[in-house]
Subunit: 347 residues, 2 copies
């Protein structure tokens, strides 16, 4: 893997750069705010690739017609504790923001609530959603799907996306959280792409080639499919995620979702989040147990992220290449926008 | 593996044999009915070992003081859609039966409901709970823990039970269900015991020995610990199950639960079930998708079980050895009961 070059800038400046970029590619204020805050959260607390590098995918998707940046999600309440959103081919984060306070209120009132959303662009960093709910004191479980990237056995075709599952609970030490955010696949598709670009081999069990045969050739894997983690059990987790994310929301099954990088249509996928109010004392008890498990050598995911929340970062280190790409897209879109404004003024 | 000898008998006769056995070891009518119906369901639809062979564990646990067969679970409703049960050191199935209709009613009313239970004997076949909820038209997710059997890495000590996760949804073809019921461990502990008894080696990755080193020696594995399926991702699933099952319910963490086969105390573990009302048309849409996935070679778990529900089995094939053990325990306990009755009459 090649090291990515980093540059430092104030958080407020980064927020401003990202917001300007959203506006340049045709995103309205509300959608821009939703996407930028989720991107900053992923940048600070999630896997690095889900911050600025993935934001570039969003900008390209606005330009390519895979995201409608001007829509307002449509909310329905089929039953009191179910909040269902039609994302209207917009971003997934906008619908979540729109109903977040209702979701919190409903969970406090009845003890649990369900968020289902159909018809959105891919959900971005899934940990983002559950972290926000854990910060409200809840235990949360999220599932999402997307265009097909994973076969479930050698010889099979792609039938699922990476179908991640995220889980968060209050209870990290020092007021933090325990956050699990993991694909049902053996690895992320972006890792295949990176390994292919670097000409590196991939471990056995990660992927198959286009003929369905197991491969350690990264380029062959990109043309082929990811495999589930842990064999049949991981494949079952992927199926569960599919039924939760696309089944409960009424969204596209992964098999029917268009490519999030090249189609001119929204992948129109699903996002389902279960929010649970834990009993009094849960956070303290979970924190003590997490520390006890950690003392026995168990990795408690999310704790490092939680620690990063403890200080208010004034400046942040960002991926210089992704930042340059974002600024180039903004400049090019800005010129297009100005040009089209001029034409509008003339007509 | 050695084949188990089978014998056939009418379902009603099997029900009667199991009920008599429960009564003989000190179980009241309600607890006996709950345990027998769960055992018959596991026998017909679950993994064979979770039917009659596991029922023997229950009988021994009643006798050994690990289950109190005369208690009534205590129900509280901390919030409208949360039903919490203290199993009072009884069986897990009794609390579920006691609140089942409330759980169904609450889910229909608000869209979802949460069942949490603490202080019970190990939950038995976890698929049982979610199958019953899927039969009501719901999507359900269940998590349970138990005495520690699993380390999460080489060199580690046992920190979790097999920590299974079960999921069911209406939507198998022919009115059936999709049912996932799987351990977070690479295999079941009973498979280590069987392999050790047969002097067979176990695959790499299943277990470690007592020193924490990876092993393929089944006897060494029994003295050591199971490992999670799929490495770090499976370990995270086990942690999520632990927080759902023991955290949300307030039950013993796996680390604190006594052995379900040898302690004289209830393991006092947790069981948490999330019940979700799917949107109209879910079952038909899920069934069509399950058939489509199956046509692409994807194994859809639970479908074979669902097919077995299609005919009303008048006679059933049972594990002859387990049946003989159950009858021997019943006879011995019956003699003890008579003897103690005589003593009571004399005093």
């Amino acid at each position: 893997m090649t090291a990515t070059s980093q540059t430092k800038l104030p958080m407020e400046q980064l927020r401003s750069i990202l917001t300007t970029a959203c506006h340049a590619v045709g995103c309205n204020d509300g959608n821009a705010a939703s996407l930028v805050e989720a991107t900053l959260s992923a940048h600070l607390l999630g896997p690095p690739a889900m911050g600025l590098p993935h934001f570039v995918d969003y900008l390209e998707a606005f330009k390519g017609g895979r995201i409608d940046g001007r829509v307002t999600p449509q909310v329905t309440r089929p039953l009191p504790a179910i909040i269902s959103v039609d994302a209207k081919k917009g971003i997934a984060q906008a619908g979540f923001d729109l109903v977040f306070s209702s979701l919190v209120e409903q969970t406090r009132k009845t003890g649990l609530a369900l968020f289902t959303q159909s018809n959105s662009y891919t959900a971005g960093e899934l940990g983002y959603y559950v972290r926000r709910l854990a910060a409200e004191g809840f235990v949360a479980l999220a599932a999402t799907n997307g265009p097909p990237l994973m076969a479930v056995a050698s010889g099979g075709q792609r039938v699922y996306c990476t179908n991640p599952l995220a889980f968060a609970a209050p209870g990290g030490p020092l007021g933090g959280q325990i956050v699990i955010d993991q694909a049902s696949s053996a690895t992320a598709f972006v890792k295949l792409i990176k390994a292919a670009a670097a000409g590196e081999a991939i471990p056995e069990g990660w992927a198959i080639d286009a003929s369905g045969a197991p491969t350690t050739d990264a380029a062959a894997a990109v043309a082929g499919a990811l495999l589930p983690f842990g064999g049949a059990r991981g494949a079952n987790i992927a199926l569960m995620v599919e039924l939760l994310a696309a089944g409960l929301s009424g969204a596209n099954w992964s098999l029917d979702a268009g490519d999030f990088r090249s189609s001119d249509q929204s992948p129109a996928i699903g996002l389902t989040i279960i929010v649970l109010a834990p009993p009094p004392g849960f956070a303290a008890r979970a924190a003590a147990q997490a520390q006890r498990l950690a003392s026995l050598g168990v990795h408690i995911p999310g704790l490092r992220s939680a620690n990063r929340l403890l200080h208010d970062e004034e400046t942040t280190s960002v991926d210089a290449e992704a930042l340059a790409t974002i600024q180039a897209i903004t400049a090019a879109a800005g010129r297009q926008t100005n040009f089209s404004n001029q034409r509008s003024a003339r007509s």
